[in-house]
């Protein structure tokens, strides 16, 4: 069946503001947001920093203004267990090659889940006020807690 064969002057669908009727196969599609600028074969094989994101992808957006407290990451104590990575709801823990690299502050909402699930002693992620500089926060890190008997 060729395209548009179903529309006759008496039968078809009138789109908003249009003069002529069109067939079901000519109706304007719903909104389509293209995540990438170019065609991508399989996203699962491309690292986020190498993907051609378009302006429609929320990767380009930020929710940093939601935060009042933020997690600060202490590399010295981290054991790369990736608990924070698997349970971060906002894809904000940057892990590459089995290593935790840091926090994506553009997408972090400051929920604090990563701090709660961190198993080290003392924790290698802690919540600080949003205005606190990470370098300053690192100097305030608590000492290792002794086991209570």
């Amino acid at each position: 069946m060729s395209k548009g064969v179903l529309a006759t002057p008496k039968r078809g669908i009138r789109e908003l503001g249009a003069e002529e009727l069109v067939g079901w196969d000519e109706v304007t599609q719903g909104t389509i947001l293209e995540t990438f600028e170019t065609e991508v074969d399989n996203v699962a094989h491309i690292r986020p920093e190498e993907r051609p994101y378009s302006d429609f992808s929320s990767y380009t957006a930020t929710v940093a203004s939601w935060r009042v407290i933020k997690p600060v990451y202490n590399r010295d104590i981290c054991i790369d267990c990736q608990h924070c990575w698997v349970w971060c709801p906002d894809t904000s823990i940057v892990s590459r090659d089995k290593q935790m690299l840091g926090i994506d502050y553009d997408h972090c909402k400051g929920c604090g889940v990563c701090v709660e699930v961190c198993p080290t002693n003392p924790k290698s992620l802690l919540m600080f006020a949003e205005a606190e500089e990470p370098e300053v926060a690192l100097t305030k890190w608590p000492e290792k807690k002794k086991k209570e008997k």
Binding site: T31, N42, D90, T91
Partner: protein, 317 residues
């Protein structure tokens, strides 16, 4: 079919994320933990349909989309029918040889909240499973219509206070029991049905991979703790989910081919249900002296249910 290694978290963490940040789900929402884990469990192309619900309204707010895969949204109830249609078209085009890349592995997945799975989309889901399309349906069960302001759904448990089943002087919240959706879906004869929770990431990833691998319709009910409607601090999402699985309010199990039931997680120490209730604001009225009997009743129901599951596992029927 390319499944990602999930032997340990380090290996699993080499996955390339396909759900982008800056979606508008609440801080600490378990929905995105579950969705991320599903998408990280495989390297195949994914076609995803989503029912209306928190996940849909938060991940596709014009002009942004958080999905790096093909993603469809149409109505509140019809993710199951949309994904059936997509799967049927894929098969037809493969048969006719009109696919651009016929060898590329594709998996079909549908997400729905508990409102759209237990209530509004129930008929559509039932139909899709009966027709036997090759897809995986994942219910993100937060036991309430969280997106529209916390109305009760048929997944809300007994005793929970919601905006349309409020606790107060004359009522202790919802009085009706929760629907047993896993048993209903298993009764459809679906090849693989399971209930999992995000705090046990490895079990969840294994179940997801098994469902993706299984040919035919699979249904997975996932516990998704809702910080806003369950009323707890966002940072405690995993802690509350731990309590849900360790008090056996949410037992973790699978049913293969409608008969073979396997319990996937047995808590080392089973906690009393009070601990789960105490962690959430929606149950706080149950601790009043006049409502204590509700807690005792729920504890009894939970014990009976656990006993039933164990017996069924043993009997293999």
């Amino acid at each position: 079919m390319a499944l990602r290694p999930i032997k340990n978290l380090k290996e699993f963490s080499t996955a390339n994320e396909r759900l982008e940040g800056a979606h508008l789900l609440c801080p600490g929402c378990a929905h995105s933990m579950i969705v991320r884990e599903l998408m990280n469990a495989t390297d195949d192309n994914l076609v995803i349909a989503t029912n209306t619900g928190c996940l849909e309204v938060s991940t596709a707010v014009y002009p942004y989309t958080s999905w790096d895969t093909s993603w469809i949204h149409i109505g509140f109830e019809n993710a199951a029918s949309a994904i059936s249609g997509a799967e049927a078209m894929y098969k037809a085009r493969k048969r006719k040889g009109t696919l651009k890349d016929p060898d590329a592995p594709v998996k079909f997945v549908a997400f729905g909240g508990d409102g759209s799975t237990y209530d509004i989309g129930f008929q559509w889901l039932s139909g899709a499973i009966e027709r036997g399309h090759d897809f995986t349906y994942i219910c993100l069960d937060n036991e309430v219509y969280a997106n529209t302001g916390g109305q009760r759904s048929s997944s809300t448990p007994v005793g929970a206070s919601t905006t349309t089943a409020q606790a107060g002087r004359v009522s202790y919240g919802k009085k009706e029991k929760k629907k047993d959706i896993v048993a209903i879906m298993a009764a459809h004869g679906a090849p693989y049905v399971a209930q999992v929770a995000p705090n046990k990431w490895k079990i969840m990833a294994k179940v997801f991979q098994k469902a993706l691998e299984t040919e035919g319709p699979c249904f997975i009910n996932t516990v998704s703790a809702c910080t806003t409607e369950w009323k707890f601090d966002p940072k405690n999402t995993i802690e509350v989910t731990d309590l849900a699985t360790d008090t056996l309010i949410f037992p973790i199990y699978e049913i293969v081919n409608g008969t073979e039931l396997n319990i996937l997680y047995r808590p080392k120490k089973v906690l009393p249900v009070e601990e789960y209730f105490a962690a959430q604001g929606r149950f706080k009225h149950l601790f009043k002296p006049e409502n204590r009997h509700i807690i005792d009743q729920i504890q009894k129901d939970v014990n009976e249910r656990w006993e039933y599951l164990q017996r069924r596992e043993e009997a293999r029927v």
